[in-house]
C-alpha cells in the first residue's frame, strides 16, 4: 500500500464541463472505501505537471503515488475505480489511459512563466501559492526597493502590455508616478471580451494570487492606494476564485492598511462588467467603473494623467500583472533574456479552432507559427489543409500559410496586417470561408459599437451591409474597392480602438483571400461551401442507397424518393440548412 497519494483533477471551466467534478467525487468516494489517505485536490485546468492547458483531452488527472506522477487524459468517473484498483493499490499505472506522445509534444516547446504555478497549486488556497514562493516578490519590492527602482526594473525587463496594445509597462507606470496627485488608482482589466480568447480567465481561475501580487507591486510603483479588478460577469468561476483570493490576501495582511508591516495601504475591489465589449477600452472601462454607459472619450488626456474620477490611473491587463511576481523573483535580466529583441518574455495564447490540441499555451515570443500549430498544436484536425490562423479577434487579421515561418511578436504580426491582440488564435481550414469570417467579426463589432462616433456606428453598419450582400449572392462589381475605401476611413476617423481596428478582419481577408471575394461576387459561388445562399445541395445518385435518413431530417420536406433507390432534392423547396449533408452516411449529398 502506498504511503502518500496525491490526486490532482483539472478543474477549470473546461475541466468542469468535461466532468471534472464527477471525476473528483468518484476519487473521493472510492478512496474512502479503500481507506487510503488521498488528497484529492482541485486544481485549475492549466498545470505545470498535469493538464497544462491541454483542454482537448480533459479531464486530465495527475496521480502521484509516493512521489511518482502519472498523468491520465480523457478521464470520466467510470474510469476511476480501475485506476484505484490497478495503479494506486496495485502499483501499475493504467497505460491505456496515460497521456502519450501528443501530450509530450504539446509541452515540449512551451515555456511557462505566467502559467508556471497555474494548476500546480490549488487556486482556492493561499497557502498553496505561498508554498511556491508566493508574495515573496512583492515583499521584497515593498521592503527593499523604492518606487522608482521598481519602475526601473520593470523597464529593464522589457515587459509590454499583454492586452493587445503592447505599450511598455514600465513607461506607462512612470507617467502615472510623475503625475502629481494625492489619489491614484490601478485597475486590472479582466474584461476579456474578444471572442476566441480565454487567457485571462484561465490565469484568474488557475492562480489569482499572481495577478493580485502583480497589482500590489504596480500600486506601489505608481503610488496608488486603491485598485479595481474589472472582470466579466460571464466568468462566474473566475470571479468566485478571485473574490476568495482577495479575502485570503486581506486576512494575511497583504491587502488593507499597513501591508507587509510597512506604512503602505492598498486594497482591491471587484467591479463586475455588465457585458459590453467596448469596455475593454481604457476610457470606456473607467466610465463603466464609475457606473455610466461605457463610452470611450478622446485621448489625451491619457488615464495615466486623468483617469478614474479624474485621477491618475493605470490600467494593466491580467497577464501583464501576473508576469510581475516572476520578473521580480528571477530578475528583470532573466525576463529580458526570453523572447525577441523588442518583445520580451512569453505570451499566453488560446489555441482553438481546427487544430488537434486545442487549449491554453504559453510560448516564448519569437516562436514560429509552424511550431505553434504543428508541434504544440499537434497539427490540423482530421488532417485537413491549413488555411489561416486568425489572431487578435475582431481587431486582428489572419495569417496565411505563406507566413508559417514568421517569428511571432508584436512587430512581426503588425507588419503583415494582423495583431498580437490579447492572444486568441483560431485556426481555420479549407472548410472555412474567409468572407464569412470577416462577416462574423463585423457582426460582432457592429453590434458592440457603442454608437458615440459616426464612423464606427454607421461605417461598420455599411461595411456589414456590403459583406452581407456579397455572401448572399448580391455582390456588385466594385464592392471590394468600396470595402477597402470605407475601411480606411473608419480606421482613420474613429475615436477609440474598437472603431480603429474594426475593419482589420475585412482588410486582412481581402489582402490574402481576394480570390474568395471575387468568387462570391463574380461567380456567385462560395468556394469553401459555407455561405448558405450560394450553395446548392444535390444527391450523388451512385452513392445514394435510398436509406431515407435525409428525408427524415429535412425540415421542409424537400427530399423525395423511394426506399433503396436514389433520392432527389427539390431545389425550390430547399432552404440550404445542410441537415441532409450532415446526416448522410454514404457521402451521397453534394454541397457546392
Amino acid at each position: 500500500m502506498p504511503d502518500q497519494v496525491n490526486i490532482k483533477v483539472c478543474m477549470g471551466t473546461g475541466g468542469i464541463a468535461a466532468g471534472g467534478t464527477e471525476v473528483m467525487d468518484m476519487f473521493r468516494t472510492e478512496l474512502d472505501k479503500t481507506g487510503i489517505k488521498a488528497e484529492v485536490k482541485e486544481r485549475s485546468n492549466v498545470d505545470k505537471v498535469g493538464c497544462r492547458g491541454f483542454c482537448a483531452k480533459d479531464v486530465l488527472v495527475d496521480v502521484e503515488v509516493d512521489g511518482e506522477v502519472t498523468t491520465y487524459e480523457c478521464l470520466n468517473a467510470d474510469m476511476v475505480p480501475r485506476i484505484i484498483e490497478e495503479h494506486i493499490i496495485g502499483g501499475e499505472p493504467v497505460t491505456d489511459w496515460v497521456t502519450g506522445e501528443d501530450y509530450r509534444k504539446f509541452n515540449e516547446k512551451q515555456i511557462k512563466v505566467v502559467l508556471s504555478d497555474c494548476g500546480r497549486i490549488d487556486p482556492e488556497e493561499i497557502d498553496a501559492y505561498l508554498d511556491h514562493e508566493g508574495y515573496v516578490a512583492v515583499k521584497k519590492v515593498l521592503t527593499s526597493m523604492t518606487p522608482e527602482e521598481t519602475i526601473e526594473s520593470v523597464k529593464k525587463s522589457g515587459l509590454r502590455g499583454r492586452g493587445g496594445g503592447g505599450f511598455p509597462t514600465g513607461l506607462k507606470w512612470e507617467f502615472a508616478r510623475k503625475a502629481n496627485s494625492k489619489q491614484k488608482y490601478i485597475i486590472c482589466n479582466a474584461d476579456e471580451g474578444d471572442p476566441g480568447a480565454f487567457m485571462d480567465r484561465s490565469i484568474i481561475e488557475g492562480n489569482p494570487h499572481a495577478m493580485i501580487e502583480g497589482m500590489i507591486i504596480g500600486a506601489y510603483g505608481i503610488g496608488a492606494t486603491k485598485g479595481y479588478v474589472y472582470i466579466r460577469a460571464e466568468y462566474p468561476l473566475a470571479v468566485e476564485r478571485l473574490r476568495r483570493a482577495l479575502e485570503h490576501a486581506r486576512e494575511r495582511g497583504f491587502l488593507g492598511e499597513k501591508i507587509f508591516g510597512t506604512e503602505i495601504s492598498f486594497d482591491i475591489k471587484i467591479k463586475l462588467g455588465a457585458g459590453a465589449f467596448v469596455c475593454g477600452e481604457e476610457t470606456a472601462l473607467i466610465a463603466s467603473i464609475e457606473g455610466e454607459r461605457g463610452l470611450p472619450r478622446n485621448k489625451p488626456p491619457f488615464p495615466a494623467q486623468s483617469g478614474l474620477h479624474g485621477k491618475p490611473t493605470i490600467i494593466n491587463n491580467v497577464e501583464t500583472l501576473a508576469n510581475l511576481p516572476y520578473i521580480f523573483k528571477n530578475g528583470p535580466e532573466w525576463f529580458a533574456s526570453l523572447g525577441t529583441e523588442k518583445s520580451k518574455g512569453t505570451k499566453v495564447f488560446a489555441l482553438t479552432g481546427k487544430v488537434n490540441n486545442t487549449g491554453l499555451i504559453e510560448v516564448p515570443m519569437g516562436i514560429t507559427l509552424k511550431e505553434i500549430i504543428y508541434d504544440v498544436g499537434g497539427g490540423m484536425e482530421g488532417g485537413k489543409e491549413y488555411k489561416a490562423v486568425q489572431t487578435g479577434g475582431p481587431s486582428g487579421g489572419c495569417i496565411t500559410k505563406d507566413y508559417m515561418d514568421l517569428k511571432v511578436d508584436y512587430e512581426s504580426l503588425a507588419d503583415i496586417g494582423s495583431i498580437m491582440g490579447s492572444g486568441g488564435m483560431v485556426v481555420l481550414n479549407e472548410e472555412d470561408c474567409m468572407v464569412n469570417i470577416a462577416k462574423f467579426f463585423l457582426e460582432f463589432t457592429q453590434d458592440e459599437s457603442c454608437g458615440k462616433c459616426t464612423p464606427c456606428r454607421i461605417g461598420t453598419k455599411r461595411l456589414l451591409e456590403i459583406i452581407n450582400r456579397i455572401t448572399e449572392g448580391r455582390g456588385r462589381k466594385g464592392d471590394i474597392e468600396l470595402l477597402l475605401d470605407l475601411s480606411e476611413d473608419i480606421k482613420d476617423s474613429s475615436i477609440c480602438g474598437l472603431g480603429q481596428t474594426a475593419p482589420n478582419p475585412v482588410l486582412s481577408t481581402i489582402k490574402y483571400f481576394r480570390d474568395e471575394y471575387e468568387a462570391h461576387i463574380n461567380e456567385k459561388r462560395c468556394p469553401a461551401g459555407v455561405c448558405a445562399n450560394l450553395l446548392t445541395f444535390s444527391v450523388i445518385e451512385d452513392n445514394c442507397k435510398g436509406c431515407t435518413l435525409c428525408v427524415k431530417v429535412c425540415p421542409v420536406s424537400a427530399i423525395t424518393g423511394e426506399k433503396k433507390k436514389p433520392h432527389l432534392i427539390d431545389d425550390e423547396l430547399c432552404i440550404k440548412c445542410g441537415a441532409c449533408f450532415d446526416v448522410c452516411k454514404f457521402n451521397a449529398i453534394l454541397k457546392g
Binding site: 471551466t13 471572442p195 480568447a197 462588467g273 455588465a274 488560446a350 479552432g353 481546427k354
Partner: protein
C-alpha cells in the same frame, strides 16, 4: 418589492454605489428589471429614470422583460462559430417555436440567448444550460437536454 429595493438603496448610499451596481442588484432580486422597480429607485435617489434606462440598454447583461424559467445560452464566439454554433442556436429557437424578435417561449419555459464568448473555446461549440457549461455539443445532445426540460415541465 419595496423592502428589497430599500435595501438596495441603503447599500447604494453606504457603499458609494453607482447606477450599474443598483441595476445589477435589482436584476439579481427579480431576474429582470421591472419598470416599477426602476421608477421607485429613481424617485428615491432623485436620479432621472432615463439614466437607469440609458445604462440598462447599453449593457447586454440587463433585461427589461421577464426571462424564461430555463436559460439556454449558445456561445457564438469565433471558435464556436467555426464549429457550427449557428445551427445549435437555431435548433433551440425551433424547438421552442421562437419567431421574430422573441427570445422567450410563450409559456415562459425557456429563453434562448447568444453570448459573444464564454472563454471555453477549447471545447467548442459550447452551450450553457442554466449555468451548466456543455462542451463539444452535438445536435443530438442538445435535443436530449431540451427534451428533458420539456418533460420536467409536463410532469
Amino acid at each position: 418589492m419595496q423592502e428589497a429595493l430599500n435595501k438596495i438603496i441603503e447599500d447604494y448610499i453606504e457603499n458609494e454605489g453607482n447606477i450599474i451596481s443598483v441595476l445589477q442588484q435589482i436584476q439579481e432580486e427579480f431576474n429582470y428589471l421591472p419598470k416599477d422597480a426602476i421608477h421607485y429607485v429613481s424617485d428615491r435617489l432623485s436620479i432621472p429614470s432615463s439614466y437607469f434606462y440609458g445604462v440598462a440598454t447599453f449593457y447586454s447583461q440587463f433585461y427589461l422583460k421577464p426571462r424564461g424559467k430555463h436559460i439556454i445560452t449558445t456561445c457564438c464566439g469565433t471558435a464556436c462559430h467555426v464549429k457550427g454554433s449557428d445551427k445549435l442556436y437555431n435548433q433551440v429557437r425551433e424547438e421552442f417555436n421562437l419567431t421574430g424578435d422573441e427570445d422567450t417561449s410563450g409559456d415562459g419555459l425557456c429563453t434562448a440567448e447568444k453570448v459573444a464568448c464564454v472563454g471555453a473555446c477549447s471545447i467548442a461549440p459550447v452551450v450553457i444550460v442554466d449555468k451548466k457549461i456543455l462542451g463539444k455539443v452535438q445536435k443530438k445532445e442538445l435535443t436530449k437536454v431540451i427534451k428533458e426540460i420539456k418533460e420536467e415541465q409536463d410532469a
